[in-house]
């Protein structure tokens, strides 16, 4: 079962943090179709946030077709976001790994690389 972690200093709204964490877990395969999400009560008993915030996040995930509520049973994962390309031994990851190696050899700092990647991402997406 997924455990949420709320970062009160991040500036990202609590409900979006929940949405992002579920999507992230779906991407990495930590959550798979059929898995149950924790109930609002379980989440707030662990994190001390407002239960309406949890329900709002689940509604957003439902709207995106990622989860579905089953009355009386809970909210369940409907669709995975895991893609074979994201696997740790996938070819795309290997290509990035080799590219980052080149960046290191060229003397780039981590922040330089991040700025470069972000600018390309912004151009393409």
């Amino acid at each position: 079962m997924i455990e949420f972690r709320i970062d009160r200093r991040s500036g990202v709204s609590t409900y979006l943090q929940l949405v992002h964490q579920v999507r992230h877990a779906l991407r990495l395969g930590m959550l798979a179709p059929g898995d149950r999400l924790p109930t609002a009560r379980e989440v707030v008993a662990a994190t001390a946030i407002n239960p309406n915030t949890v329900l709002k996040a689940y509604r957003e995930l439902e709207r995106e077709g990622l989860v579905e509520p089953r009355p009386g049973l809970g909210t369940f994962v409907k669709r995975s976001l895991a893609q074979p390309e994201l696997a740790s031994d996938g070819p795309l990851r290997a290509a990035i790994d080799s590219w980052v190696g080149d960046a290191l050899a060229a003397g780039l700092e981590r922040e330089d690389v991040e700025a470069l990647v972000t600018s390309v991402l912004d151009e393409r997406y």
């Binding site: 609590t14 009560r41 707030v44 662990a46 001390a48 407002n50 309406n52």
Partner: protein, 289 residues
């Protein structure tokens, strides 16, 4: 059946010398967790005492689930936990619970005992020997044992350490998830309540500055940052809540229902703290003027 747990209409309370609360109008819909925020002395405790029927309004009206408090006991469905927690130091926890049972119809002993057990407070301990955090947990169990539909807590987190705060909030939010009760929490520290509230009532100088759904309030404001314009600042149809300037830069909070199209400014949705601080500063400027 009223859809509002709490409603104030032009509510005012005059103490001997001055108004403690004036022209206060807002609605708190059922099922919400609302923060009642304002500086010390703004009128938060006065408002809660009026709703609980401990004070009588000088003007206007307050209703709890549609009923006007008549001053004889708490209004139906309301539990109120004031700053001076109603606990007797010489009683044991078990005796306090017994008093709760004797004094309240609809008392849920099993539930109250469960909350005490969850807080790991021994039933035979004397109230006077408990820590601040434990006393708050006992007072909360006493309030929740009445199975209220509206729970009002006046500064519930004052004098609690961070761990006890987290424990109290987790208990409270779990009860909200389970029962759907409405909660009104007062504090002069917004940061304490930012994670738990979905509704805000901001009181400044005895009247309501803003109130409503937190997401809607945030969506109805824009925070602009930009170079200070040479001439005056003109924001067309949008209302300036508060503007701060340095010799070069200006920061402006706008209230607006329309999209903001001001290319010279960086425009962003404010967070709750920025919103509240701007309203507090705006009020400070008005009183100083």
């Amino acid at each position: 059946m009223s859809t509002h747990a709490l409603e104030a209409r032009a509510l005012g309370k005059k103490y001997r010398r001055a108004w403690g609360l004036r022209d206060c109008t807002f609605q708190l819909p059922t099922g919400r967790v609302s923060a009642l925020v304002g500086p010390n002395g703004a009128g938060k405790s006065t408002l809660m005492a009026l709703a609980a029927g401990l004070l009588r309004p000088t003007e206007g009206e307050v209703t709890v689930f549609g009923n006007t408090p008549d001053g004889r006991g708490s209004p139906d469905g309301l539990a109120f936990l004031g700053q001076d927690k109603p606990l007797y130091p010489t009683f044991t926890v078990a005796e306090m619970l017994r008093a709760g049972r004797e004094l309240n119809t609809g008392w849920d002993q099993e539930y109250a005992e469960g909350l005490i057990a969850e807080a790991r407070v021994p039933l035979n301990a004397k109230i006077g020997s408990l820590s601040g955090g434990q006393r708050t947990r006992v007072a909360l169990a006493l309030a929740l044992g009445r199975r209220p539909r509206l729970l009002m807590l006046d500064e519930p987190l004052a004098d609690l350490d961070p761990l006890a705060r987290e424990d109290v909030m987790r208990t409270l939010m779990a009860e909200v998830a389970e029962t759907g009760m409405t909660v009104l929490l007062s504090s002069h520290v917004l940061a304490e309540l930012e994670e738990v509230c979905d509704h805000l009532v901001l009181i400044v100088d005895g009247s309501v500055a803003i109130s409503g759904d937190v997401d809607e309030l945030l969506a109805g404001h824009r925070l602009l940052i930009g170079a200070k314009p040479a001439g005056g600042m003109d924001f067309g149809p949008h209302t300036v809540v508060q503007a701060r300037t340095t010799p070069r830069q200006a920061t402006v909070l706008l209230r607006t229902t329309e999209p903001v199209d001001l290319p010279d400014w960086d425009s962003d949705q404010p967070n709750l703290e920025e919103l509240v601080l701007s309203y507090l500063r705006a009020n400070g400027e008005r009183s100083a003027a």
